[in-house]
C-alpha cells in the first residue's frame, strides 16, 4: 500500500479468526487504520487481497462490505448527531422493509420497525445507555457517543468487526463496559474482531492474538502475553506507552 511515493506497508498478512479478538498495536502512523481502510474498500491496495470467509473482497465498495459480513467503527465517533441514540442504532440494522421508498407503506414494515426498536433498546441497555435512547446523539457526552458508535457497528449483524481505537478518549470508568462488550461479541456470538488499540490494558484483557506494526511491517505477532513480553516490542513500541 502506498500514498504517492510513500510506502505505508508491504508484504504483511493478518488473519482474524472467528470467536477470537485479534489486536493490532503500534505507534501513530504505523498503518493500523490504513489496514481497516483497505479491508473496508476505502483505499484500494496496490497489491494483495482481502478475504472474508474465503470470499475475495477486492473491488467491493465500502457500503457493500456489510453485505459480505464485515463492519468497522471509526476512531472519531462519526455518529449521526441529529438522530436520537436509538435511531443511530436502528439505522444500522440490515434488511429493513421500511428503508425502501416503494415498500414504505407495505404491511409488515411498521411491525418490523417495532421489533427492531425493541432490539435496539436491548443493545442500548447492554451498555447502560438506555436513559440516553431518545436524546439527540449530538448532545451526548463524548464517551456515550463512542459507545453508541460501537453499538451501531454491532447492530449491523456483521460477522467480522473492525474496531478502530474503541477506548480512545473514553473515561476510565467506561472502559470495563467496552471490555465486556467485546468479550460478549466474541465469546457469546462468535464474531471475529479485529481491534486497533493503544490501550494495552484493554488489549491484554480482551485479545487472543496480537500483531505489532512498526513503520509498515509486522515486528511481532502471535499469543498476546508472549508478544507483549517480547524485548523487541518493548524496545520499539511499548517502552514509549506502557510501563511493563
Amino acid at each position: 500500500m502506498n500514498f504517492g511515493g510513500v510506502v505505508v506497508f508491504e508484504d504483511i498478512s493478518i488473519e482474524a479468526p472467528p470467536s477470537k479478538v485479534t489486536a493490532c498495536i503500534g505507534p501513530n502512523g504505523a498503518g493500523k487504520t490504513t489496514i481497516i481502510n483497505i479491508v473496508c474498500g476505502v483505499f484500494p491496495p496496490r497489491s494483495g487481497e482481502v478475504y472474508v470467509d474465503g470470499v475475495r473482497m477486492s473491488g467491493v465498495r465500502p457500503f457493500n462490505t456489510v453485505r459480505h459480513g464485515l463492519c468497522r467503527s471509526f476512531q472519531d465517533v462519526r455518529i449521526f448527531p441529529s438522530l436520537t441514540a436509538i435511531e443511530n442504532v436502528l439505522v444500522a440494522m440490515p434488511n429493513q422493509k421500511g428503508e425502501s421508498l416503494v415498500a414504505l407503506f407495505r404491511p409488515g414494515a411498521w411491525a418490523q420497525e417495532r421489533a427492531n426498536r425493541e432490539r435496539a433498546r436491548r443493545l442500548l441497555q447492554a451498555l447502560a445507555l438506555e436513559t440516553a435512547a431518545e436524546r439527540p446523539a449530538g448532545e451526548l457526552p463524548f464517551g456515550q457517543q463512542k459507545l453508541l458508535s460501537l453499538l451501531r457497528a454491532i447492530a449491523t449483524g456483521a460477522r467480522v468487526l473492525l474496531l478502530d481505537e474503541p477506548a480512545a478518549g473514553l473515561e476510565s470508568d467506561l472502559i470495563p463496559r467496552v471490555v465486556d462488550l467485546i468479550r460478549s461479541l466474541v465469546k457469546a456470538e462468535g464474531r471475529a474482531t479485529f481491534l486497533v488499540e493503544h490501550n494495552i490494558d484493554l488489549v491484554r484483557q480482551v485479545a487472543d492474538q496480537i500483531c505489532v506494526l512498526q513503520a509498515g511491517r509486522i515486528i511481532a505477532s502471535g499469543d498476546v502475553r508472549r508478544v507483549l513480553d517480547d524485548q523487541t516490542v518493548i524496545r520499539e513500541y511499548l517502552g514509549q506507552v506502557y510501563n511493563v
Binding site: P62, F63, C71, I79, S82, E87, L104
Partner: protein, 286 residues
C-alpha cells in the same frame, strides 16, 4: 372572494413545492437551487398534453408528475459525484438549462410566449372546487412527506445528510437514498407544476426562472429546514404577508420594491437570530 380563493390555491401549490424541496434540502442536505426546473417540467408536460394533445387533465397531471420525476433522476445522476457548494452551483445550472429549453424548445400557443387554454374537467372549472381540490392534494402530499420522513427511509436520509461516510460503513449506500428522494421530490414538484398551470391558466418560461427557485428556498428557510410543518408555515406566512401589503394603501409603484425590501430584511434578521427558521429541526452549520 374570488381573489382569496386564487391566493389560497397558490398557497397550496407552493406548499407542495416547499414540501418537496424540504425533503431534499432539509432532510437530505442536498442544496438544490433549481427546483423551479422540475416545476416547469411538470407544468409544461401537463399543459402540453392537455392543450395540444387533448389528454384528460387528471391523466396529464399524472404523466406530468412522472415526467418530472424521471427528468429529476436523469439530471441528478451526473451531479451525485459532487457535493456542497459545487452541487448547489450545478443545480443552478440545471435551472438555467431548463429555462432555456422552455424558452426555445417548449411548445407554445401561436401568437403567445407560452401555453394557455387548459381544458379542465367541469368540476375544476370554478374557483372554489379548484381551491378545495388543490388544498386536498397539498394535505395528502404533506401527510405523505411526513410518512416518508418518520419512516426508516427518512431516518436513513438524515443519516446520509449527517455523515454519508458513516452510513456507507453501516452497509447503506447514501447515493441510493439521495437519488430516490430527489426523484420522489421532483415528481411532487412536477405535480405542483401541473396544478400551477391549472391555477394560472397560462404558463410561460418566466414562471420557472431562478427567482422561483430562490422563492422556494426562502419559504423553507423561513418555515424551517427538516420540518413538514415548516414547509407549510413558510409558504402560508410569506404569501399572506405579501398579499397583506396590497391593503396598506401604498402607491402601486412602491408596493413591489417595499415588498422586496421587507422580504430581504426579514430574511437577514431570521438568518442572524433564528437560523433554523420558525420550526426547523436542522441548520447547515451542524
Amino acid at each position: 372572494m374570488e381573489h382569496l380563493l386564487y391566493i389560497g390555491t397558490l398557497i397550496a401549490v407552493w406548499t407542495i413545492v416547499a414540501l418537496a424541496a424540504n425533503l431534499v434540502i432539509g432532510y437530505t442536505g442536498m442544496m438544490s437551487m433549481g427546483q423551479a426546473a422540475y416545476l416547469g417540467v411538470g407544468a409544461y408536460a401537463t399543459a402540453t398534453l392537455n392543450i395540444l394533445l387533448g389528454v384528460n387533465f387528471y391523466l396529464a397531471l399524472l404523466i406530468g408528475s412522472i415526467t418530472a420525476a424521471i427528468v429529476g433522476a436523469i439530471t441528478l445522476l451526473p451531479l451525485l459525484r459532487i457535493g456542497g457548494f459545487y452541487f448547489a452551483l450545478a443545480t443552478l445550472g440545471v435551472n438555467f438549462v431548463f429555462f432555456d429549453i422552455f424558452h426555445n424548445l417548449a411548445p407554445r400557443v401561436e401568437g403567445s410566449e407560452g401555453l394557455y387554454g387548459l381544458q379542465l374537467p367541469d368540476f375544476l372549472a370554478s374557483s372554489a372546487p379548484r381551491f378545495a381540490t388543490t388544498v386536498a392534494v397539498a394535505i395528502a402530499c404533506a401527510l405523505l412527506c411526513q410518512g416518508v420522513v418518520t419512516s426508516p427511509f427518512g431516518r436513513a436520509l438524515q443519516a446520509a445528510r449527517d455523515r454519508p461516510d458513516a452510513l456507507a460503513a453501516l452497509g447503506k449506500d447514501p447515493r441510493r437514498y439521495q437519488l430516490l428522494i430527489w426523484t420522489f421530490a421532483a415528481g411532487l414538484t412536477g405535480l405542483a407544476g401541473g396544478l400551477y398551470a391549472a391555477t394560472l391558466f397560462y404558463i410561460d418560461p418566466t414562471l420557472f426562472t431562478l427567482d422561483a427557485s430562490i422563492l422556494v428556498l426562502v419559504y423553507i428557510g423561513v418555515g424551517g429546514l427538516a420540518s413538514t410543518t415548516g414547509s407549510v408555515l413558510g409558504v402560508i406566512l410569506l404569501i399572506a404577508f405579501n398579499e397583506s401589503l396590497r391593503y396598506l394603501g401604498l402607491p402601486s409603484q412602491f408596493v413591489g420594491p417595499f415588498q422586496q425590501a421587507i422580504y430581504g430584511l426579514l430574511l437577514i434578521l431570521l438568518m442572524i437570530f433564528r437560523r433554523r427558521g420558525l420550526v426547523g429541526k436542522y441548520d447547515f452549520t451542524e
